[in-house]
Symmetry: C2
Subunit: 229 residues, 2 copies
């Protein structure tokens, strides 16, 4: 009776099953990210993730089935973190500015050894090597990023900016593709111990290119001849 009185206005001590599940999932995804940052994508084992998160391996299997499931969840979390930090920081900033911040955010991350950008790039590449389900998860996320870029472009278009292409999906795909390409090149050189890619120079070029694509000179009508697929 005493106990009940003192805790009545507080949160019940005993959490619902759903709350516990969410807590375990959060801990497991964070643990998976931590393990992959330290040991690489190939170094991920369910046993180690369970141990870092302080749960049983059986629970990991129950929640994510296998390594791929956990990797996809980690990828989704990394993307959400980026979007939260950079994509929606200031929803009133012009579209091109929001794209710039998103790209710069990813690049600045590359300066740090435990970079999420680096792990994100490696997990994306995994799509080429794992099964179709994994690639579908990656493609769905790519689609979400493309959608974000597309909305920024639409906003610029509605402000009367001349975009380099009337096909906004293609333009958005193009923009996110080079960001990914530059990050991949950066990461390869890093693994190789080769001369690092000059991030500041890349960012300056990205800014120039964005400006050229979003409010550059009126696009020429010149198009390469259509090819058969």
């Amino acid at each position: 009776m005493l106990t009940m009185t003192t805790t009545a206005s507080k949160r019940p001590l005993r959490r619902t099953q759903e709350e516990r599940r969410a807590t375990s999932e959060e801990a497991l995804v964070q643990a998976a990210i931590e393990v992959m940052k330290a040991k690489g994508v190939a170094g991920l084992t369910l046993a180690e993730v369970a141990s870092v998160a302080g749960v049983s391996k059986g629970l990991v299997v129950h929640l994510y089935a296998n390594k791929q499931g956990l990797q996809l969840a980690a990828l989704a979390r990394l993307r959400m973190d980026f979007t939260r930090r950079f994509g929606t920081q200031d929803p009133h900033a012009p579209g091109i500015e929001r794209i710039r911040r998103y790209v710069h955010g990813i690049f600045v991350g590359l300066a740090h050894k435990d970079s999420s950008s680096r792990l994100f790039s490696a997990l994306l590449s995994e799509a080429l090597f794992q099964d179709r389900a994994f690639a579908e998860g990656v493609a769905a996320m790519n689609n979400a990023t493309k959608q974000f870029v597309r909305e920024c472009l639409e906003e610029e278009q509605s402000q009367g900016k001349r975009l380099a292409s009337s096909d906004l999906d293609a333009l958005a795909t193009f923009i996110m593709s080079w960001v990914r390409g530059v990050i991949q090149m950066h990461c390869i050189n890093e693994v190789a111990g080769a001369a690092p890619v000059d991030r500041d120079a890349m960012l300056a070029l990205i800014d120039q290119t964005l400006a050229a694509l979003i409010d550059g000179p009126a696009p020429e009508a010149k198009q390469p001849p259509k090819r058969r697929r």
Copy 2:
């Protein structure tokens, strides 16, 4: 005596050890490419490559030590093939035109199911997952491609074109990075069975961007603040 007379002006039937080695290497690299196109990068085994090439597995180990050695040799061969077909087709074409042909050649290749571009992209990604020696091999190749793009840019500069950056290494790295990024996106969507990336739209955007970077409006002096590495 008769035999000697008839073969005297021909190539000797008995090849030197070096010739035989070159023939085996050629057969093995082609076999490795064939096996990886059919079964993916992870599906490569020395035993199967030896069998396809018609040599002993011992010889494969003798020549390439392991899978990584064979994969690096395959990557170098794919790059050489691209360069031979597209990079140096017409050494008298303007630099921007040679870059365009190189990029278009890679993209056209993506239309075919057994595309070398696709395998090349997958092998590049491997650099993030294998050991440093592999990444070093990939970085060295990236460097050779960058050098090709850089020479094209230098030629344009000598013709009085205004380049988007005076740092030609950075500009070359930027150009090759987005080509790689677009190819990776294309390949991921393909594995996922997602809506394909519109290659023609990408090529049109690449052409526009190349034009903007190589002879666009005079670059603005605006540069982002230098960041500490």
